[in-house]
Amino acid sequence: MGSLHDNDETHTKSLFSLLCESGEFFPYIHTDEASVVKSSCQENGRRNIITCKDKNLNEFLLEVNSLDMNTVHLNGVDILLGEYIPVIPRKFFKSSATFIPQKIVAISLSDIFVSPPLNLKDKKYHVSPTLKINRKVLYNPVFKNKKVILLSDARDVLLEHLWWNRKKIKLFDILARIGFYAVSTPNFSLFKGECPMGHAWNIKKGLIYGEELEKRGVMVIPHIYAVHVKQLERWCDWLKRNPSVKTVAMNCQLQRKSIVGRDIAVNALKHILANTDVSIILNGSDKRILSQLEKFKTRLYTASSGAFKNLEIKKQMSPFLYKSWIENTRKVSATP
């Protein structure tokens, strides 16, 4: 198995895959990973990702101290979570915490800013010029007496902006001082068909991000993405070398929307669950993914803001509705 999608028509090497030189970075990138490259690694202008042909590649490698995942050691966490973790959206911050029975809740990275961090202009997201983290975000009533996990899942525009400016804005210091119960590392993108160099660099960025937070005393939950079995093998190897990491996360919001995406997610999850003993927080998963992972059910936690968004749409927020929804979700397992 190479690709993580069983019915993949891209098994045939394209011209682009033949020209990809990421395999030179073995063992941190396996030569097989280039076989599914579907776009040119040459002169991509660093659009969304860096490639093996980048003329300043050394600068990017230096930034993450090589592509070797094992230069980063994380202590991680072993948290006993409920089957369902509510992700509370900004619009509900002023609500009473009593509406929510769970002791452990989550917040999305996009919601920890004073105002929405991105503006949609002409169908493209732009970073807000007034971007500022709300250091007192957990003082909102809805978080009273709750343990709050920060799920650092966001759009690339925001994640890359924060990464590039991390020193200038003292990102890690600020995040550490807010008082989150735990923080997941960002879901830096891994799209199939793009240069594996970019994948490996993004995976390493996530680990460095976690390392910086742990240095400041934060409990870290590594976020895992993989679109190739060799990437999964490296993740499993890394998890075995970091045995105290017992909880990891995966964002499925985009993957759940297509058959291919769900295949990639399910195959990756099965591989990790079968080859390690970690538990996984699935952010934005759904029944179509969870139903294929029934035998690992006890090691899967679902984080979702869906219930709040449904309530928001109906504009009927009330304790009664919320409680009835909670009852309902218990009946249909963990899929709101």
Binding site: R46, K121, N187, Q255, V260
Partner: protein
Amino acid sequence: MGSGTSRKSNDSVIINRPKIQRGSGTGGGQGHNRDMNSICPPTLKVRLNPKKPLPEGSHLTLEKENIVFFDQKVGLLTKAQLTTLTRCIAEGFRYSGKVVNEKGNQYGVFTRQ
């Protein structure tokens, strides 16, 4: 964000060269590499002044500071916009223009490809 097979078209970013590190650590520093996302924004919007309304979604081209629909000059870039586009094209980025209707006006929206 994300993983899978296709990116969201509204979430497009240029990866900046790392800031030059000073001292130890991996956290970046007070370097001078530029934020290409500010220099070459994802979109540029220009008010159009066509003689007759243009079909929405029509393709627009740039000829120096002129915005052109087929042979018709329908708008003009400001000096600042021209400077931005000239620089970004030199950096290797391409901007594709389309007609957009908004609040009774017509605009040319140039999107970074």
